[in-house]
């Protein structure tokens, strides 16, 4: 039995359905991300779990209890907001103390827990500063300390990193994950940053237009996306239009450019026309005339640990990442061949379903 259970929850605003029959089971201590484009209903879902919005339909179960009708202030759920939402008139320590005061904790117990929480986020030295005297990253950590000090059953994070610069974001992601593991707290993170979702989560729920499209471990959905939407949303993607000749079990033979290829195929691919999706890092550049596709290098960008190539082919533009091997052996306008392992390609329906 899972710990947090969202059963068929929906939310409509007037006639507009923001969240549509959302089903998700989360285990105790698990870290799950809701990932999706802007406006797909992530925040709405989170607000329903927190109790700030009432679902139009469905139930929210936590530890076997029905929480759907319980007021937000009795749910014992910790939240970190995108804007941090610190209380500007209280110091860091007083911010952290707020939830403990509401729980009528004794003075001694309060002090001890505040110390421990601030210590956990490495802010003990800043306890008497007001939010405006703290940097963005420090404010964010106060917000985290304030949310976890009440020992919530669930921790909800709504795009907590989006106001941090890239370097700080990476540091905070690592720190957040280690704190979450240390406390073993069931966590739901809302984000539209696929790298953040993949780096932090045990599982990712990819959302689109109010619905869950796919749930799974990060590498599973990256390697085996359910459809073109998931494939394109989680990283880069080369799409090649192919003709499906035959499907037998989990293999399909497809035709493009006058050649046949046998590739892995999910259930549900039925149409004659389909996409063959190949990740840029799975494509190798070969000598002209020896690849599955032929093309010409349009641009070449150096990223330190890898090169990014944009290559013009008869079937459209291809993106290729190749490892930096110290010596660049190709140059713009070179004619090259493109090659990939048949097993690295995925066959997907043309429409996003």
């Amino acid at each position: 039995m899972s710990f947090l259970n969202l059963q068929e929850i929906s939310k409509s605003f007037g006639g507009f359905v923001a969240v549509d029959q959302f089903n998700l089971e989360v285990d105790k201590g698990e870290f799950v991300s809701l990932l999706g484009p802007s406006g797909c209903g992530k925040t709405t879902t989170l607000q329903m779990i927190a109790g700030f919005l009432d679902p139009s339909h469905g139930q929210i179960m936590v530890g076997g209890e029905d929480l759907t009708a319980r007021p937000a202030n009795q749910r014992n759920i910790g939240i970190v907001f995108q804007s941090y939402a610190l209380f500007p008139h209280l110091t860091a320590a007083q911010n952290v103390a707020f939830g403990l005061e509401m729980r009528k904790a004794t003075q001694g117990e309060r002090q001890e827990k505040i110390d421990r929480a601030l210590d956990l986020v490495h802010l003990s030295a800043f306890r008497d500063r007001y939010p405006k005297q703290l940097s963005g990253g420090q404010q964010q950590r106060v917000a985290l300390a304030r949310a976890i000090v009440i020992e919530p059953t669930i921790l909800l994070l709504d795009e907590p990193m989006s106001n941090l610069d890239a370097k700080l974001r990476e540091d905070m992601q690592l720190e957040l994950r280690s704190i979450q593991e240390k406390l073993g707290i069931t966590t739901i993170l809302v984000t539209h940053d696929q790298n953040e979702a993949m780096a932090l989560s045990d599982r990712i729920a990819v959302m689109n237009e109010g619905r869950i499209v796919q749930v799974g471990k990060p590498h599973e959905i990256y390697e085996d996306p359910a459809n073109v939407f998931v494939s394109s949303f989680l990283g880069k993607n080369n799409l090649l239009a192919v003709e499906v000749e035959d499907i037998s079990g989990s293999k399909a033979s497809v035709r493009f450019n006058g050649q046949s290829l046998t590739v892995p195929c999910r259930e549900g691919v039925t149409n004659k026309e389909a996409w063959l999706s190949i990740r840029p890092e799975k494509v190798q550049l070969t000598d002209k005339g020896s690849g599955l596709l032929e093309g010409q290098i349009k641009t070449r960008v150096f990223f330190g640990n890898h090169w990014l190539y944009q290559i013009e082919t008869a079937s459209g533009e291809f993106l290729v990442y190749s490892q930096n091997t110290a010596v660049p052996n190709t140059a713009p306008r070179d004619a090259v061949g493109l090659n990939w392992q048949a097993d690295d390609a995925r066959l997907l329906n043309m429409d996003a379903s």
Partner: protein
Amino acid sequence: MNKNGPLALVFHTLFIVFMVAPLAVVVWVAFTPLGYLQVPTTQWSLRWFYAIFENEGFIESFWLSLALGIASASLALACAVPAALALARYSFKARGFLVGLFLSPLVIPSVVLGIAFLRFLTQLNITGTFFGMALCHAVFVMPFVLRLALASITGMDRSAEQAAVSLGATHGTTFRRVTLPMILPGLVGGWVLAFITSFDELTVTIFISSPSTTTLPVRLFNHITQTTTPIVASISAVIIFLSVAAILILDRLYGLDRLLVGSKR
């Protein structure tokens, strides 16, 4: 450093001169030893300052205006906060109408308001009472309080309230411990504007004051229509000093920008 062109500089200088010069002249005149309004050049005296304390009528009126300002500003604030919360956070049919109603004292001519208030107080049989005057002044200063309260509530980050609720606070506690402190600067600013407006209101007050409830502006006005002793100048000077002191204290406590412009810290 100086980004103003010469024309702008002239404009600002003239602007400030025209603002400050009358005040300076009034303060200057207050130090005359003579019995009529005259700018002293050779002789100085505190005679007209002492005269204030011998005139019980002015002292009484001062306290009345002070009390009236405090009472009406506080009453207006007490009504404006819940009103502003509702207006800022809910959209309902009568919203636009209510905003217009609360702000209408700004556009209705004072004479019309004065007559209306007088009629109203007579109907309720509370003409010439402090309570009646405070009620009228509260209506009159409402726009100032409401505007600043609305601005600070609209500008407030609501997720701070959600955070408080998620930490276990009831709605009442959330309002007291989070919302109120966060909008306080705007409320103080509104209160100060309301107090000042009430304290020196003349046109409306003339209609509703009685011999036993004569505010300071009304008494000064009455005084000038009969005689022109420099006591009006010395009283004005005292009020100017008190205002400057109050402004300095407020600036120290909250920062005037934050109070009156509503800028964020």
